[in-house]
Each structure stands twice: as structure tokens, then as C-alpha cells.
Amino acid sequence: MRKLIIIPAYNEQGGIEKTVQDVQKHAPDFDFVVINDCSTDNTLEICRKNQFPVVNLPVNLGIGGGVQTGYVYAYRNDYDIAVQFDGDGQHNAVYLKDMAEKLTGEHLDMVIGSRYIKKEGFQSTGLRRIGIKYFTWLIRLVTGQKIMDPTSGMRMVNRDVIEFYAKNYPKDYPEPESVVTILKKGKKVREIPVQMNAREEGISSISPKKSVYYMIKVSLAILIAALRR
């Protein structure tokens, strides 16, 4: 069973080494690859210095295009399982083993690391949590399935979904939409409780100004994804 950790990184010079150490320590049977999304800081140099495997995007694609590069890489290198894992220290690698066991044991297509099942660890801030609850409601409305943490960037998928995402993946704010597209394809998605950390390094890609655009764009994308067959 070949398993790959996709670590998207944009200007993560402060957190990338820690993230990789966490992964190497707690998920030693996984391979990993850093997707450097044309960082303007020393992310690439740090990866090269430590000889981390890195796919270096020559042009900044944003989170969607970056993560998709990881899925294409996983598909072409015959990985059976791929998992997204943020490069900024928000995710904890201790859960990867459990996620993989759940995915294969229950024959699932996707396992999401969810902050809101046990409600432990960093829970995000007030307004964001309302936004996340709204997406849970909207996804339930269009698919009938309850996803407690649809914006979680910690998600593990099997080879079917790797192949699908290698071909189709949203460009920006991809998490909720990409869950809906595979639910609509009849894929099985389950969640597992995880604890996340507050961000130590780097800044969120969703600033207050962008959050209005985020809500509208993602809502529309979910509705359109629901119309697809």
C-alpha cells in the first residue's frame, strides 16, 4: 500500500521543517511531497537544504492548483492513498495512521480530519465557525450528508478520488466544493475526530475582505456541483 502526504506550502519558511519532522516522526510509513506554490520567501531553499522531496511550481497557482498538482503526482506515481496536510503546523500527523485505517478498514473513499466531532483543540474563531456551520447545512441540503467540518484541509482519499481530483479540482477555496463533487458521485465520505492547532506561522488565505467573496463563491460552487451528475 503506497501512501502519500501532500504538503501544500506557500511562504511557510517558519513552519515547513516542523511539519515535515512531525510527519516523519508520526507517519513513517507515508511518503511525502511538498508542493511549493511559488513562495516568495525561503520555503524552497529550506526544502532543498533538508532534501525534502519538493514539486516546485514556477507560477503561483493558489491552494487549489497546488493541491491538485499533488494529486496528479500521486496518480502518476501509483499511490493508493493520498492525504492533504497543511504546511503551517495546523495539522497533527499522529492522526494519519487512524485515518488510513478507517479509510481502508471501512472501504471509504474519503476520510476528513474533523475539529467538530469531539470539539477539542483549536476550534477556529466565532464568525468562521458560523460560516462552517452554514456550509454543513448547505451540503446536507444538497447531498443529504452531514459533514461537520467541510472546510478542513486534512483529508485522505483512495485511488479513485486521487484520479478524479487529478482531473477536476476547484481553483480557489476548494475544500467544501470538492467534498460535494465526490458525494454527488456516490463516494463514501466519513469524518474522524482530530485536534488542530492555531496557526503559528504564516497568515490565513482568507482575509476578512475576502470572506464575503469566499461565502458567495463557495455557496454558488456547491449549488452548481449539486446540479452536476
Binding site: V33, I35, P53, V54, V55, N56, L57, P58, V59, L61, G65, Q68, T69, V72, Y73, R76, K171
Partner: protein, 117 residues
């Protein structure tokens, strides 16, 4: 429409058409994108030279003033063109994304080959 304004419009249009053709000749403008501009330039020039055709069209569409028809069709043409460009931008951003990914993945496999030697 006075003869004076007719001549001014005709001169402006001819200069614009020549400029567009010249840009295509120098390959500064793709002929596929120049076509719609050339077409609309020729149509307006035709209406300018034969204003009676314009009067007939205005009557046909039931529009009061010829100038309103020009605004209306001009606006429609612009919308059409801008939307066409939006579609092209969407397609190109997808193509650009794919190319970027391929370049990055090729670089990675090149490194892997080097490291295995």
C-alpha cells in the same frame, strides 16, 4: 446626418481599420481576435457611407432615433465581445494551470532521475 460628420466618421474608421490590419501584419494582434473588430468597423463604415440603409433599419426595428440604434447595437456588440473574452480567459487560466503543473512535475522527475544515477 451632415456630410461633414459623415466624412469625419469615415476617416476615423478607415484609420482604425488600417491600424488593425497593420497590427495583424506585424503579428501584434491575432487575426482571430481582429476579425470581430474588422467586421464591426466595415459595417459601421457601410452605414456611414449609405445613411439611407440606417434609416431603413431604424424604421424596421421601430426605433425613434438613428443615434439610439447605434448606442444599442454598440452596447450589445461590446457585451458580446467582453463575454467572449471572459470565456477565453477562463480557458486560458485552465491551460496555464495545467502547463504550470506539468513543468513542476517534469522538473521533479528530472531530479529523481538525476538522484538515482
Amino acid at each position: 446626418m451632415s456630410l461633414k460628420i459623415q466624412i469625419i466618421v469615415a476617416v476615423v474608421l478607415i484609420v482604425a481599420l488600417v491600424a488593425i490590419i497593420n497590427m495583424v501584419r506585424k503579428e501584434a494582434l491575432d487575426i482571430r481576435f481582429a476579425l470581430s473588430w474588422l467586421t464591426v468597423g466595415v459595417i459601421v463604415l457601410f452605414l456611414d457611407v449609405f445613411p439611407s440603409v440606417m434609416d431603413w433599419l431604424v424604421h424596421l426595428f421601430g426605433i425613434e432615433l438613428p443615434v439610439n440604434m447605434m448606442f444599442f447595437f454598440g452596447f450589445c456588440f461590446t457585451l458580446f465581445l467582453v463575454f467572449g473574452l471572459t470565456i477565453k480567459v477562463s480557458r486560458q487560466s485552465e491551460q496555464l494551470k495545467r502547463l504550470t503543473q506539468e513543468v513542476a512535475l517534469l522538473e521533479k522527475s528530472l531530479e529523481d532521475v538525476k538522484n538515482n544515477e
